[in-house]
Symmetry: C2
Subunit: 113 residues, 2 copies
């Protein structure tokens, strides 16, 4: 699981596959807390689209409520060559969810005594 | 499979479940051709979210290219009481895709001889 940066905007992207939901949520949390990007994209194809929506919703409602919000959602269709039959083109739906940070996460000051 | 109308806007809604993709595409086509609404919503929960995106994309790219477009996509979370354990609340992600007609479908005139 790795996050790539889109060239134009420098927005990290998490690609959703078949791993358990929590793995993607934790990857997103790590990026948000360590790299402190303004935006984060969640990208998926085919059946993983449902999980991409789950990742966005779990982040928005449970882990970072009031901190991140959905800025934009795009859907599309990718055409990919069938691996069994190179003459056949398969179509697969895609989703890209852009999350935006509404405010910064301010760490509470460590108690000094 | 039935289409309901939302009160405020009078926009027909197709709810996506576990039936084959083509059934929902055909239902959408029937509504678009017969009722000629300006907009049509496609709504789904949980794993059916991927199929909802498929329905929108198949309509947009294959059946009605240049005629319909995606106007808006909303995602959310529904809280539903667990049927086995009424004290437990399950969360399920939702999607609502609003399709808009960019131009009317003009039937070609029947040849008279």
């Amino acid at each position: 699981m790795s996050a790539e940066q889109t060239q134009e905007e420098n927005v990290p992207v998490i690609y959703i596959g078949k791993k358990p939901l929590i793995r993607y949520v934790m990857a997103a949390m790590a990026i948000i807390l360590n790299e402190a990007p303004k935006k984060l994209k969640i990208s998926a194809r085919g059946r993983a689209i449902s999980r991409a929506v789950d990742v966005a919703e779990v982040l928005r409602t449970r882990y970072l409520p009031g901190i991140i919000d959905v800025e934009d959602i795009k859907i599309g269709t990718d055409e990919i060559r069938n691996p069994q039959d190179p003459n056949r083109i398969d179509r697969v739906s895609t989703i890209e969810i852009t999350l935006i940070k509404k405010r910064d996460i301010v760490p509470t000051e460590a108690k000094s005594s």
